[in-house]
């Protein structure tokens, strides 16, 4: 304990006055009184200074994890946040069984949510329609019953899989699964593009997502997977739970991701930015192995947005990305062909967050920070 050579009442007075000062409860008389105690007791100065400095650290507002908590909160009470418009529900309940051919087993809902404003466009491949009719008259139909959900550029959609898992499919993506075996021993889907998954927990039946570069196995969790074949990187970002990632070209190696971590893999042998991250080094031999980076998911300190999942909140968000990549993102987002005619513009970097804006708005904003011109056509844009 602090031993001061003062009488105890003056001491107690000091702590009480300092408390009041720090918590902004002190009157001007009290502040004066504190001042005079400090004058008479120089050795108290240090305590006052140090505690003041410590107190001011409060300004750091820690919001780690609250973005993910918000998504869970919204999901938990979705009926109160998502207003349905023109619901078209094709629904069939009950588990998968032989007698239930269940082409529409998947609860396919075409809803427009106010939060997400997903424009749902659900395309089921002819394969499954074919089987739906075929399956009725033949018993030997353990074959292809592929359901394929496709989003065109400019569209995003939400689907509920037969096991109750929810998938938000970003623009220009497709998700396939085999209706006849999904949810039997495994729950397997194939993704090309980007999707945010909220997987219903079922340890008995692992949920596996196949992408070009990696397979992701989960038991029940929330995460985002991005695997567009025309992009440089395949990545999986975990919000909640845990997932196990297996790389296509290194099947023996498994990587377990913890919440708020993301893994990125170069689609070709490209350099990935690996600042401040733990890197699993590629083996130093002649075989070229894609570079893998695992890093922490962090909301941007000023905007509080986690870039990886911003799109699920209907935000077109990019952080320090070059115009070439942004053009590709806008192309998918707005469904308009975006071309950059001037090579020197491709490497300009931008950070931005857009909601409900048109492509013209977005380009006009970007233009403000580093100038370029653009020409808007009916279904294309040229930046020059």
């Amino acid at each position: 304990m602090v031993m001061l050579n003062q009488n105890s009442s003056s001491q107690n007075q000091f702590w009480s006055l300092l408390s009041k000062k720090l918590s902004k409860e002190a009157s001007s008389e009290e502040l004066q009184e504190l001042q005079s105690i400090l004058l008479n007791n120089p050795d108290l100065h240090h305590h006052a200074d140090m505690l003041t400095e410590m107190w001011q650290q409060r300004a750091v507002n820690n919001s780690d994890g609250s973005e993910a908590a918000y998504i869970r909160h919204i999901m938990k009470h979705k009926d109160e946040f998502f207003v349905e418009e023109n619901p078209i529900e094709i629904n069939s309940d009950g588990p998968v069984s032989e007698t239930n051919p269940g082409f529409f087993r998947t609860l396919i809902s075409k809803k427009r949510f106010t939060v997400f404003s997903f424009l749902a466009l659900i395309v089921l491949t002819t394969g499954s329609i074919y089987l739906f009719t075929k399956k009725r008259d033949t018993k030997l139909t353990a074959v292809q019953a592929i359901s394929s959900i496709v989003t065109k550029n400019g569209n995003r959609t939400k689907i509920v899989l037969p096991d109750g898992s929810q998938v938000w499919l970003n623009a220009g993506s497709n998700l396939d699964y085999n209706n006849s075996v999904f949810n039997k021993d495994l729950r397997e889907v194939t993704l090309n593009g980007e999707a945010y998954f909220d997987v219903t927990r079922n340890p008995e039946k692992p949920f596996i997502i196949h992408t070009k570069k990696m397979d992701i196995k989960v038991l029940g969790t929330v995460f985002n997977v991005r695997s567009y074949s025309d992009e440089k990187i395949t990545e999986a970002a975990l919000i909640k739970g845990s997932i196990e990632v297996t790389l296509k070209d290194r099947k023996d190696q498994k990587i377990i991701l913890k919440p708020n971590e993301k893994i990125s893999i170069a689609n070709e042998e490209l350099k990935t930015e690996a600042k401040q991250s733990k890197i699993i080094p590629a083996k130093n031999n002649t075989v070229r192995i894609p570079q893998i980076v695992v890093k922490e998911l962090k909301p941007n300190p000023t905007s509080n947005i986690i870039g990886e999942i911003a799109w699920t909140q209907n935000k077109l968000y990019f952080e320090d990305e070059n115009l070439e990549d942004i053009a590709l993102r806008m192309e998918r987002w707005f469904g308009k062909k975006v071309t950059i005619a001037n090579e020197s513009l491709k490497n300009i970097h931008y950070t931005g967050n857009f909601e409900n804006e048109t492509i013209e708005d977005v380009l006009s904003y970007l233009k403000l920070s580093k100038s370029f011109n653009f020409r808007l056509g009916n279904d294309n844009v040229v930046i020059y």
Partner: protein, 186 residues
């Protein structure tokens, strides 16, 4: 650094169904309310459920949210009430005792590089804060981290303002002791 938006302005937007304003309110208070609730429940899952309840109630009554005089205090009081109801349901009323509350405050210096203190001192401070008696630590945290006033803290915890004042003095005095100790050994 987050500059907290004026709450009355947020309220106005929430009353107009603005989910972005609602989200901002959530993000601003989620961790703080969780820390407070966690002190009583000691369960992460239950805490998340309770804080989610606090916020869904806000959304449900958004049309008259502007009737709430002090939204910040309202959030804490509502968190406390819901927590105590849950604990009652679970027959864990004993956990509502302020002397059993286990609060985990933020690190005294989250970014020690920025402040003129040594790592050792930071650890000493942290230990001193953690060793405060439960009630004292709770009051210290509510005032320092959550920015509640003496009066709000007193209302929230059903204690007198002079108790709040005393407890905070005790906290500072004890924490200061840790600093002195460090200096002697430097």
């Amino acid at each position: 650094m987050n500059i907290p938006e004026d709450l009355s302005h947020l309220c106005e937007r929430i009353a107009n169904d603005d989910q972005l304003a609602y989200r901002q309110l959530f993000i601003q208070f989620y961790n703080k309310l969780s820390r407070f609730v966690m002190g009583f429940t000691k369960s992460k899952e239950l805490t998340e459920e309770i804080v989610s309840d606090v916020f869904i109630n806000i959304w449900r009554r958004r049309k008259n949210i502007e009737e709430i005089k002090n939204l910040k205090l309202y959030l804490y009081v509502s968190a406390k009430n819901i927590t105590f109801n849950y604990l009652k349901k679970l027959h864990r009323e004993n956990l509502t005792d302020l002397d059993l509350v286990e609060i985990e405050p933020e690190d005294p210096f989250a970014d020690p590089g920025a402040a003129m203190i040594t790592r050792e001192m930071n650890l000493k401070l942290k230990a001193a804060i953690n060793n405060l008696p439960p009630r004292c630590k709770l009051i210290f945290t509510l005032i320092k981290e959550d920015g509640l006033t003496y009066k709000q803290t007193a209302q929230l915890l059903n204690i007198s303002e002079s108790t709040v004042e005393n407890q905070l003095s005790i906290a500072l005095k004890r924490i200061s002791g840790a600093i002195r100790y460090t200096f002697r050994h430097n």
